[in-house]
């Protein structure tokens, strides 16, 4: 046989064998570490208990609440329509069908926000997007929605609007009786008279 052909064949076999030692496919598709770190330092993943309460009250279909605590805690109490995906099971393929559904916003929650945040990082490494963490968790949920605190007199009007919303949410979630209007007098709106300024530089941002 021609020597060149033997040589060529051997070379091709060696190169083919070499490609076996190339990077192995990881078990799951993951985003690379630098991207994960960049995403992890963004605060945009945090949502408030007020926002979640609003979505539940409005029956927002895009909301998908994921309770990452163990099943015992979940059985004792969970938010409306929440799904239990304990952190330890997050990487099992059966549980992953809850993520990456187009159009849904996945919101992780736990007792505080640490466990939920940790779940978010793991899920993000797996490449899932459109995920959020409820800041403060169920502890904050109780402190804002279930037992809202009346803001002090000096607070801005937005604080009172928020308090009104929370009182309504409290009734929605716990069905508690509406309190007699003893203490909750509607605050006198303080109208501020302002001198009309000459419209010097109206415009800009």
């Amino acid at each position: 046989m021609n020597r060149n052909y033997i040589f060529l064949t051997l070379l091709m076999v060696v190169l083919a064998a070499g490609t076996i030692f190339l990077k192995e496919e990881p078990e799951y598709q993951q985003i690379n570490a630098e991207d994960l770190l960049y995403d992890v330092i963004q605060p945009t993943r945090y949502v408030t208990t007020d926002q979640i309460a609003k979505m539940i009250i409005n029956k927002d279909p895009t909301l998908e609440l994921i309770d990452v605590r163990d099943s015992k805690s979940f059985e004792k109490f969970s938010l409306n329509n929440a799904i239990n995906v304990p952190l330890d099971s997050l990487i099992l393929p059966d549980y992953q069908e809850y993520f990456g559904i187009p159009g849904t916003k996945v919101v992780f929650y736990s007792n505080d926000d640490i466990l939920a945040d940790q779940s978010w990082v793991i899920a993000r490494r797996l490449g899932f997007k459109d995920m959020y963490v409820m800041k403060g968790g169920l502890n904050k949920w109780v402190e804002t929605i279930i037992k809202p605190q009346e803001p002090p007199e000096t607070a801005p009007e937005t604080a009172f609007e928020q308090y009104q919303f929370r009182k309504g949410a409290q009734i929605f979630f716990t069905g508690s009786k509406i309190e007699a209007p003893g203490s909750s007098t509607k605050k006198e709106k303080v109208t501020v008279r302002r001198k009309k300024k000459t419209t010097a530089a109206s415009g800009g941002c």
Binding site: I41, L90, Y95, Y98, D113, I114, Q118, I122, N139
Partner: protein, 213 residues
């Protein structure tokens, strides 16, 4: 008479160039700068490891110079740092921590067995960076429980941190089922809609240490 026999030198030359080009291609293949050293399973295990947390009373040892094997990295921005920080801490924002010099520094600190403690205003702020650095293989990186806020409140009696264990999170502060559950008459349809994850038959694992950070 085969055509290749006519120019053996030419054939060899083209072959060598071909091989060289392929080798150059493999060598210059773009590899990501940072690669994971911990698998996903390991990453979750780390979260249960109590040794990966740094308690306030351990911090007291560092500040009292009892333990000199620790460096503190404040990952907040410079403004927050200048308003007040833990004495001896360096201000390195989480993203700067990944540049070449700092990665090399982390590697050296790891090699010399020096613990690196990350802290933010609270545990949540440092949680993400801490997890990622652990997954990159820096096993000497720990997270300060309670963050700067707890330290600032207990500056003077840090070693008695056990008296105020508010730095330990992940626990319920209320009996949710009593406080937050809707009264029986209202919202019964919500109970029905409560979805359950599919029941998976798994070999019962030994209870992973509930705890960790």
């Amino acid at each position: 008479m085969h055509v290749h026999d006519l120019n053996p030198k030419k054939t060899l030359a083209t072959l060598i160039i071909f091989v060289v080009v392929i080798i150059i291609g493999f060598v210059t293949l773009k590899r990501p700068r940072l690669t994971y050293k911990a698998s996903l399973e390991k990453s979750i295990q780390i979260l249960h490891d109590k040794d990966a947390c740094f308690n306030p009373d351990q911090l007291a040892d560092v500040l009292n110079k009892v333990n000199g094997n620790v460096v503190l990295f404040d990952i907040r921005n410079n403004f927050a740092f200048s308003q007040g920080h833990i004495p001896g801490a360096e201000n390195i924002s989480a993203y700067d921590l990944t540049n070449k010099e700092n990665i090399k520094r982390l590697k050296d600190l790891n090699k010399n067995g020096i613990t690196v403690v990350l802290y933010g205003n609270d545990q949540l702020e440092a949680n993400g960076p801490w997890m990622v650095f652990r997954q990159l293989g820096f096993n000497n990186v720990k997270i300060l429980l309670g963050g700067y806020d707890y330290y600032a409140k207990h500056k003077d009696n840090l070693s008695e941190a056990s008296k105020d264990d508010s730095y330990i999170l992940k626990r319920p502060r209320y009996e949710y089922s009593e406080v937050a559950k809707p009264s029986a008459s209202v919202n019964t349809d919500q109970q029905k809609e409560k979805k359950k994850a599919p029941v998976i038959r798994r070999k019962k694992k030994t209870q992973a240490a509930s705890g960790g950070c």
